[in-house]
């Protein structure tokens, strides 16, 4: 038998893999086609014609802009909190061994490992038990909780690759703890934090299950979309919003990929 490692794949495997990738991508590509259809009452295929008028219509919709603003604001605040908490935890877990270390990694992963509906309803019942009114902040509270894990995953991977002797050298050369953090640790973990932050932003921007439980009157963009999905009223606008959402979430993913591809992988698997 031959044993060259560059052997090409069996034909059947190639076909199965290609079909699988098509299955993953065709539905998303369809969104782009539908954003330009002239049909506004049904989901007719093939589209009877193409137009760009819905882009303008969507641009002038104040409800879409308001929802977008709320989503961006929540995602930004939740990401900031997640970066601080995730980095602290990653630093502590990766630089020392202590009692309860395993329990802490489990605690971080739990909000994402259990179905979102459990996180959502737990928070909702806790808010109602404590008579906390729903606001943007209750949504932030929920989002930050499950965003910590993505920052943590990225930061832990980078800390593992950063040699401890760099930090010791910094101390030996006379830097204090804060200088070491500012000039040695931060430049080393910076891109990992940026990547983790972007993934956290994408995760929060897109979140709907926990949000439905922790929002009152506030409408984030996913909540707006969900209402359109349940009761379609303005299909063309929804098509355009869907396309924009795909584009907006793709940018951080591709950027995160390029920021972390040297050596370690983007910890997207833990979404």
């Amino acid at each position: 038998m031959r044993s060259d490692r560059e052997a090409s794949a069996p034909f059947g495997l190639k076909v199965a893999a290609a079909c699988g990738l098509l299955f993953l991508h065709v539905p998303i590509l369809l969104i782009f086609v539908y954003a330009f259809t002239t049909e506004d009452k049904t989901y007719q295929w093939p589209p009877p014609g193409f137009t760009t008028q819905w882009l303008g219509v969507t641009w002038n919709r104040t409800d879409v802009w308001e929802a977008l603003t709320v989503s961006v604001k929540i995602a930004a605040i939740a990401t900031l909190i997640a970066i601080v908490l995730g980095t602290l935890c990653a630093a502590a877990v990766s630089r020392s061994r202590f009692f309860g270390r395993e329990a802490i990694s489990l605690l971080i992963i739990l909000p994402i490992a259990l179905p979102g509906i459990i996180t959502g309803i737990s928070l909702r019942s806790a808010f109602s038990l404590m008579d906390i009114p729903f606001s943007t902040w209750t949504i932030v509270l929920g989002h930050a909780t499950f965003c910590v894990v993505v920052v943590y995953n990225n930061a832990v991977a980078r800390f593992r690759r950063t040699s401890g002797s760099l930090i010791e050298a910094s101390y030996d050369l006379g830097a204090d703890g804060f200088q070491t953090f500012r000039y040695v640790i931060l430049p080393n973990i910076g891109t990992a934090l940026l990547a983790g932050g972007m993934l956290a932003f994408a995760l929060s921007f897109d979140e709907v299950i926990v949000t439905t439980f922790t929002s009152g009157q506030q409408q984030t963009l996913p909540i707006w979309m969900l209402e359109e999905l349940v009761r379609p009223r303005q299909r063309p606008v929804t098509n355009v919003v869907a396309m924009v959402v795909v584009l907006v979430t793709l940018i951080p993913i591709i950027a995160a990929y390029y920021l972390t591809r040297e050596g370690d992988q983007v910890s997207g698997a833990g979404k």
Partner: protein, 322 residues
Amino acid sequence: MSGTVALTDRGAPAILTARNGLLGALSDLFWRKPKLLLFLMLLPPVLWLGIVYLGSLFALLLQSFFSIDEYSGMIKREFTLKTYGELLQPANLDIMIRTVVMATLVTIASAVVAFPIAHYAARYARGKWKALFYLGIMLPLWSSYLVKIYAWKLILAKEGIFNWALANLHLTGLLEAWLALPIVGGSSLSVSFTGTFIVFVYVWLPFMILPIQASLERIPVSLVEASADLGASPGRSFWSVIFPLALPGVAAGSIFTFSLTLGDYIIPKIIGTSHLFIGQAVYAHQGTAGNIPLAAAFTVVPIVVMGLYLWMAKRMGAFDAI
């Protein structure tokens, strides 16, 4: 900021002077007492997750032992197992069985579809193709969940691309025969369990591909070469060497697909029948019905099922593959 490190952690006499200023003093303190720094670093995340997350989870579990007064609709805050008893009513048992069966089928189908993609990406894709495969899996994973469901609403609509394609292939009769079947059928694909199943598989597929790919990448090439040297055909090598070693990856992926299907309530609501899944039941009970105890008891079901599942997966070595 002047001076250098003053003390060792053993408390040896200072060779150099202590630092000036508050920051310097803090820095020295952390150097002498690394445990203190560790404690301060862990405090914020543990407090946050402990209070916000575990606190809420505990509050929820507590409420599952309360019950609702049938006449006033008020929640009685005293210990009872009555709410758990309600879970065993036939209608609620149906919901649980339906959800677990769906989660099992979705998991099996995802594994079957995911394996060839993961296998190709891990063992055959090189260089540019490798990056392409990686992004090709990551982009759908991270694309908006709702947009993905919306895309399937477009595809499965009566006037949509799926029926159009079938009509052009003259296969409409086949679809009608399938939809006429009990349970899996319905008036159209977007209001049938078949539709729900397809969307579940689509949305969770990347979660299955990534762990399988990770476990396949860890298999040393020399093992496969040894198998070939010992006379095994490529097919035999696959089934006797590669596949068993990839099983922990499949188990790891199945944790995601199974857990996500158990808790989802949006997919069956948008593409599916009027029969409820666990997530929808939770949502309905806490929302309009205001029956938080029953909703809480319902969430305990996925927690217990996942607990059992994780325990089995751990025995299969799934955690090494995540």
